[in-house]
Symmetry: C2
């Protein structure tokens, strides 16, 4: 299966430290070498960088490591192909526009026999179960509402759809529209909130530490969400199976009852 | 106004030579320094690289110059802002999905008083006239057809819509779905077809030459389309005002009667 990484902050923050460990899982410390991608929201705009090469050798990953892009919402994904050949069209995250907002989605898991929906508003371009599920999810939301509903109504509906889709298999995902970041756990997903007083963190995947106190202000708050914890000296919280959390401004603002 | 660059080929080709000259127009040999972007189709997938920094200093432009991405359909754009502030959401090219294909659009020009359409299928995320026109164009196509029509029917409808939209101002654009590349000239657009026997070409914007005979096979055919010719020792063809050309496999396959 794949590796997910998300970040949600109250102020635009670079993801260099987390990505430093995460990108090693694409071919070095783990075997997820079937392409990777990362999306950064900058206000309403979004940079979506994809590569069908392993992240450990990808020139695009080198760009991300060298160029400290600051963002309040980041979603990254390293692929271990289960359904769909290795090519760019099957590389996560996927992007669509809904209600005049870009929506970004990445999935870890495998959905068995997920039905092919002929969407009116959204159709898959590639051949993955993941993109099918994303298009189905957006299709349901867009069919229900012509304009964005309230945050609570949207959260409840995404939670309902996530429960429906996870009947088909493992469905860990991250989803963002540049306003909030939704994380859904089907099997494995962990998060940590970093805020003052900041400490030093040390990566699991390589021997790198950072003292966040030296690179932050007292007001900064950052939520990092990942399939497996990225650091070995901090307390990560495991999401429960069936749990959906909406992160906003670096906090878990809404959470479902786990199933 | 902005600078457009397109490439359409019969075999995946890198755009390094053309981009070498083109990117200098973003802040060095020309003053279009309000961001830039480039889209590469790889089969049905698409890489869309955007930066709100000038292309002459952009780390993303350095990636494109260092990483020879091969593609049959490329669209690049350097922005000189007329409407909409300088930010990522207003940076061309824009991307949407229609009929299970990604569609890429970039515009050179300025549309005055172009009406804001509340699309059912497509809405603008940023605040440019360009993205409004793109969404309007797709909205009309998607409303007319649930599935892709014939190439000729699609060409005729895009031609009709281009004529409608250029009533509002200058509307040079490039559009691609990864199958063909549409180039529409409202004021300035030039193209060249390179095929055997290949010759040496020399850039306008910097003193760089390439002997294409050394980097091609006899079967290769490449159409390069740009606002202004990129080389000073080749014969570029000017599109006529009001002309739409569909390029496929490096050839101008369909062309409208200019107006």
């Amino acid at each position: 299966m794949c590796q997910l990484l998300g970040m949600n902050c109250n102020t635009p923050t670079d993801i260099l430290f987390s990505f430093e460990g995460f990108h090693k899982r694409g071919g070095e410390t783990d075997h997820h070498a079937d392409g990777w991608g990362i999306a950064f929201f900058e206000d309403k705009g979004c940079r979506l960088l994809l590569d069908d090469k392993p992240s450990i050798t990808s020139p695009v990953a080198k760009l991300v490591r060298d160029y400290p892009i600051k963002s309040k919402h980041v979603i990254a994904h390293i692929r271990k192909a289960t359904q769909g050949i290795i090519n760019l069209a099957n590389t996560h995250p996927f992007m669509r526009e809904m209600w005049g907002q870009y929506w970004i989605f990445a999935h870890n898991g495998n959905l068995e026999n997920f039905p092919q929906h002929q969407g009116c508003y959204y159709q898959a371009v590639g051949t993955t179960d993941s993109e099918q599920a994303f298009c189905y999810l957006l299709e349901q939301l867009r069919s229900k509402w012509c304009q964005p509903p309230s945050q609570q109504a949207l959260f409840d509906e995404i939670n309902r759809l996530a429960a429906e889709i996870r009947h088909y298999g493992v469905f860990n995902f991250m989803l963002s529209n540049g306003e909030a970041l939704y994380s859904h756990c089907s099997t494995h997903l962990h998060y940590i909130i970093r805020q003052a007083p900041f400490n030093t963190a040390h990566l699991v995947d390589n021997d790198v530490s950072v003292d966040f106190a030296t690179v932050t202000t007292l007001q900064d708050r950052v939520a990092v969400i990942a399939t497996q914890p990225l650091t070995d000296n901090e307390n990560w919280t495991a999401l429960q199976n069936g749990e959906l959390i909406l992160f906003r401004d670096g906090l878990p603002l809404l959470r479902s009852t786990a199933h």
